[in-house]
Symmetry: C2
Subunit: 90 residues, 2 copies
């Protein structure tokens, strides 16, 4: 594998992992989750948790590290969405 | 690697890939992108594009397939967000 290919992989992983930070911050700031899909965050958070379990199973530190961060960010966004959804139903 | 670990990996990949489908459908239906983070979708779409380039570089069909789908879904959500952001500025 060329170094450039490896670097592209690392940048890709960093971007897709860190991208959830501005969304989590926006959601925390505005508490608005109207246009966020509950299905998306349910599926995504579950998927990232499974990636984390997969990473632990094969002892891959990069997978564990990236998915731990993404899991916490996705879970915080999902929590706000569930809270707002339940509140709006009342 | 145990078969169960591999299965967990496949389920994880399927969930994180397909999770963007309900978000894309919701955004297409409501055209509402108020609580979506422009930074998130800019970083995420760029990251997924780099994953796609990485997949092509190492000729990994699974990475190419999953990221092609995610790229199209994320790009459609990002396009709506950019359109709404530009419209609201006018």
């Amino acid at each position: 594998m060329l170094i450039t290919t490896e670097v592209i992989g690392y940048i890709a992983a960093t971007l897709t992992t860190l991208s959830f930070l501005p969304q989590a911050l926006l959601t925390l700031k505005t508490r608005n989750t109207e246009s966020l899909s509950l299905s998306m965050y349910s599926l995504f958070t579950t998927g990232v948790l499974l990636w984390l379990i997969y990473g632990v199973s094969i002892s891959d530190k990069a997978i564990i590290f990236a998915n731990s961060i993404t899991f916490l960010l996705a879970l915080s966004i999902l929590s706000f969405k569930i809270y707002n959804t339940l509140r709006d139903r009342q």
